[in-house]
Amino acid sequence: MATAEHLGPALSSVRLADADAVQALLQEQRARLQVVRDHRIWHWFGGVPSGFGSPGAPLQALYARFAGFALIALALIVAGFTRGPVLWVIAALAGAAFLRAWLVIGPPSRRTLQLFERAVLVPGIVIAYEPEATEPDNELLRGVWALVAFDVKSVDGLQRLDAAATRLRTMLAGTGGPEAFLQSVRGAIAAKKADGSRIQVPAELGQNLELARLRVSPNLLPGGVLSSRLLFVFADPQERQAGHSRVLQSSLWGSGVDDLCEDFPLAPSA
């Protein structure tokens, strides 16, 4: 354990009114991420690779490796008969199969690990969502758009973020604000653009705010459904491109977080 972040109270319920508990929760979140990193138990972050490249890449790589071994076996037998082109073609195919396996899985794994090492958990306030995300029987990934801030360290910060999200929701409904930005957000919501990317929010809405365009699996959320406007986003502070912001399973959000989420009931989607 490289840090002392794990030295905190045992939380069972965290309420917005309890500033110390909220602060302890944020500290616990950092400690939980550190546990995953220290022990390289990446399945807690969704596994490697995830979110980059094709979702079927691990299976493709597995098949390619099996094909590579089968071709090596064939080449070894053929080598008893000939040293001619047939042998070298089979050997080249075996090499190509292993290369294919590496190409399919290597770069996405590297990008995933880079994200896992750098990303932090930041609070987000939902401003818009696909209506199906609130249905209890929904099992699919749904688009959720949330305002996030990397500098929230306390209840005050959380409330400022919530107030900014309310302002943004009002502006999106059609009253004032930076029109170009609002148009792009309205467009993204209408087009269901939710690719794990983030965009900078104009300063008039608040300092250091970003809008995360998330694709959320309901079983990761407390209660298995989107019922709170508060969620925690695993986001890479150095990279806003697609796939660099995602929602992790709520057990990583910390103990007692369900009650805090209850204090932020879901508002109508913008």
Partner: protein, 238 residues
Amino acid sequence: MNPLEIRQRLDELERASKLEKALDSGGGGAPWAEIVWMLQFPAIIGLAIQVTTMALAVKPDDPGPPPAEMVWSAVLVLPVLLFRFGWKMVRSPRERTQVRLRRKGLVVLGAIVQANDRFFDDDNEDWLPGSVLVSFDPKARPEALAAGAQKINALKRQDRRTLPPAQAALAWELYHEMGPTSSLPVPPELVGGLRDCLLVSAMLPPEPLGVDGCFWVLALSGERSADAVAVLPATLVG
């Protein structure tokens, strides 16, 4: 059964290549090392074909097989040797630890500190994660270990800022409930003075091989990896 008898039984199973499956809690990767080992057979077939073809091609007047054929035969011996003796190098560090555990692991007592709730269901048939107190101390007795496990479990609900560092680490390990993680040393004062105790993150079989409220664990002394511990299932002696 005492630890010695259990170890003998494990040795029998390992010799029969059955222990790995008996301890498998699922989730392992593809057996690449075994696949590499199997490649020796096509290599032997290829070599045999080459030698046979070479022998059949030799005429009575020839002083011997052509040198090129001899060289090629020698080349084909290389993969046979490589796959026959080099396959172990393909094993992942996890697989190496597990092999060492099966062959050199000690049979020691363990007690549940906490486990997935489903473990306690009567109809549970799955291997489930849990935290286990393991003692390498020969003086360890089931009652003392079970009492120690309860004491450690109570740390989970305490404020970690008020605990000594070693106990705070144990409390955090139980509190975050994420695994598998490396084993943590348990201070003797928590386990009635027993030495060499560890809190380990392990998969629990549906029915562990038990003794007086505790159960038998196969563990490598001096290793902290989560792979260096396996809770023995009752089916091993069935």
